[in-house]
Symmetry: C2
Subunit: 411 residues, 2 copies
């Protein structure tokens, strides 16, 4: 599945329109579009329990989605499953939800689909934490193919109340990542999230917006155009059924999906208690890399980032450093920032002492220089010759001094 | 020696004026002012070799300073010692140097003096690195007692071309450290160094300026008044004899003393290649803690700090975090930055789901809320009662809603 995905464009045609491609592989499952009854069952199941629904996900894995949906409907389920499904089990809007998604150009992405990010989401099961249950299904909108996007993806998250600095850095880093083919995963919120999506879009790179509400809703309203654009060229995804309203706990629950879709999570500006820190905690629990951008210690908006770095998150300043950390070995290595070169680079110990002893104006003879530099007598002359060769010493009437244009003393 | 030192004020009387105190301990050495011939010998030795002079320091340890000086004078020394002393061995300005120091209110601090920071400097020998040789002696000026100051000391160093941000943070952190009794060790340069000294002086706290020139010189000239003040209430120290001029390599060599005198070195703003990074490298080699203050990733003046943190230096944002890292166990623990409290703090999972499901305006009955929240039917009513108790839910004519003043959705 991941092989097939990596052969085609991440922003290519929808999976359901490319069955020809998926048929040739001859794999036992996940190669064709899922059956309609599976979609109906998962659509029902995606509404019947509030995520994260660990007990329900386990039950579906055990008996399959169609059987699971039928049993949930009639209440013939284990106690734990009953606890999270009893309230809504009589509500079946599966067909209406599928139609509502289709009406906005969306669809239901299910684990039985070749575009499901099976490998990325496998980490959820490994944590054993019920709060970190994978989604039952994802409602998506856009041409992006999630399984492939998750192969090279970084979650870029941060404060809604970002400063100009945070917005700038989020946009720059996201553009750098997207430009090198990494999908920028974020939450479409104002502030850092929006800047990250826009940074990716600006270089026509891949980006995924993971919502805490229905795929047919634009939240926040001020990001209506941004979400429309992501739906045209990237991917909008949510585990909440159409019409679902954003709620405070849903933003927190949603954050695990941001972390789960990405190789690493980068926090750009966050207060000491913030949703971004929750996403970082989820990423750490999922065994993913946590990174943070530092900022002025005088800015409360960077305090959460500094806290993360002090707790072990990797400090990153540039997209290259993110890529080096999450990227494929040996391919995405960051080049070190350029270091200023000095004419005195490469001088040996004696040459350095002699150079430092050289007077700026009143030239001195080699005997004076030997004492001032504190080097053996025989060593001062070869050192002066080398310094002269480098343009670091001037010889005048038997005496030595620095060249006329003097350099500052300290590095 | 360190016991005695900690009983009296760090900025108290000069050691030579307090022999009564030091006599009672009955320790075998280091309790009385050193003999004049030791001072003369060390004064001669401090000029005869350019620091760091590992071979000379070893030789002095083996035969004692008086014998070492006599042998160096007549050239009767091992080859390695001859190599570093041959050029200047005929120059004996010991008496003149001691007089020059005294003329500016200074003196020569030698390892035989109770104020010598024996414990702090012991780390030099442990490195086995000849570049990290301890000084032969220190020319000092001021009432500060070095051995005691080094017991609780932090080196605060950084760029000369510091930004307003760096100057501000250096001053704030240094004031916080000095206010809690930690000596601020720095190099008296413009930029971060000067701000660090001034921060300590501003709270009348201890500070030590370690120079790369003679104790009778004020470099940089713009810090003449600052150095005078440090000499009045703190301590100015240098391994270079009176009259010695600052030279580029001397700043680098001097940096090991900054690192060696302090429990930890804090870098506040530094370019990717800087003297501060050299001090940090020395501190690491000496087994001392390296700390760095982050800043905007858009600032080249913070790039060196970020590089240090990526290489393992501790990110610190406040004096309290420095003290927690270098301070005595359990005494200087930093208190966590204040976290905002929310009315929803402490709600359990069901209460959170019900709270999020509560409509802001059009009140709903418990049946509707059970379905919307997706919780078991019997669980919604106790949750509502608790929410009402906390002022998070309002009951009106058999229906529930949020209190009139609504809170924002996302954390």
């Amino acid at each position: 599945m991941s092989e097939r995905a990596s052969e085609s464009s991440a922003l290519g045609e929808r999976a359901s329109e490319s069955s020809a491609l998926s048929e040739r592989a001859g794999e036992p499952r996940c190669t064709a579009a899922p059956a309609p009854e599976v979609l109906l069952a998962r659509a029902y199941l995606s509404r019947v329990a509030e995520p994260p629904a660990a007990a329900l996900v386990r039950f579906v894995e055990q008996v399959g989605p169609v059987e699971a949906a039928a049993r949930v409907r009639r209440g013939a389920v284990p106690e734990q499953v009953a606890g999270v499904t009893a309230a809504r089990r009589a509500v079946d809007r599966a067909e209406a939800d599928l139609a509502a998604a289709e009406a906005v150009g969306g669809r239901l992405l299910v684990p039985e689909d070749p575009d499901w990010p099976t490998w990325a989401f496998a980490a959820f099961a490994l944590t054993g934490d019920p709060e970190l249950a994978p989604p039952v299904a994802l409602w998506t909108r856009g041409p992006g193919r999630l399984a492939q996007l998750c192969e090279r993806a970084v979650a870029v998250v941060g404060a809604r109340a970002a400063t100009g600095y945070g917005v700038h850095v989020a946009g720059e880093v996201a553009a750098g990542l997207a430009d090198r083919g990494h999908a920028v995963i974020s939450g479409a919120a104002i502030g850092v999230d929006g800047a990250a999506h826009r940074g990716a879009l600006a270089v026509e790179g891949p980006t995924v917006a993971v919502l805490a509400c229905g795929v047919d809703r634009a939240y926040p309203a001020s990001h209506t155009a941004l979400l429309r654009r992501i739906g045209e060229v990237g991917l909008v995804a949510t585990e909440y059924p159409p019409g679902a309203v954003p709620a405070r706990h849903r933003f927190l629950v949603r954050n695990r999906l941001l972390a789960g879709m990405a190789e690493g999570t980068l926090v750009v500006e966050a207060g000491v208690r913030s949703g971004a820190q929750r996403t970082a905690a989820d990423a750490r629990a999922l065994g993913r890399l946590v990174m943070a951008v530092p900022g002025p210690v005088t800015s409360g908006m960077s305090a959460g980032c500094h806290e993360l770095i002090r707790a072990g998150a990797l400090l990153v300043a540039r997209a290259e450093e993110v890529l080096e950390a999450v990227g494929r070995l040996g391919i995405d290595l960051a080049t070190a920032p350029a270091r200023p070169l000095r004419p005195t680079d490469g001088l040996d110990a004696v040459q350095t002492l002699v150079y430092d002893a050289l007077p700026a104006r009143a030239a001195r003879d080699t005997r004076w220089l030997t004492i001032e530099a504190g080097v053996p007598a025989g060593a001062v002359r070869p050192a002066l010759v080398e310094l002269e060769r480098r343009g670091l010493a001037e010889y005048r009437d038997g005496r030595w001094q620095r060249p006329s244009r003097r350099r500052p003393l300290e590095g």
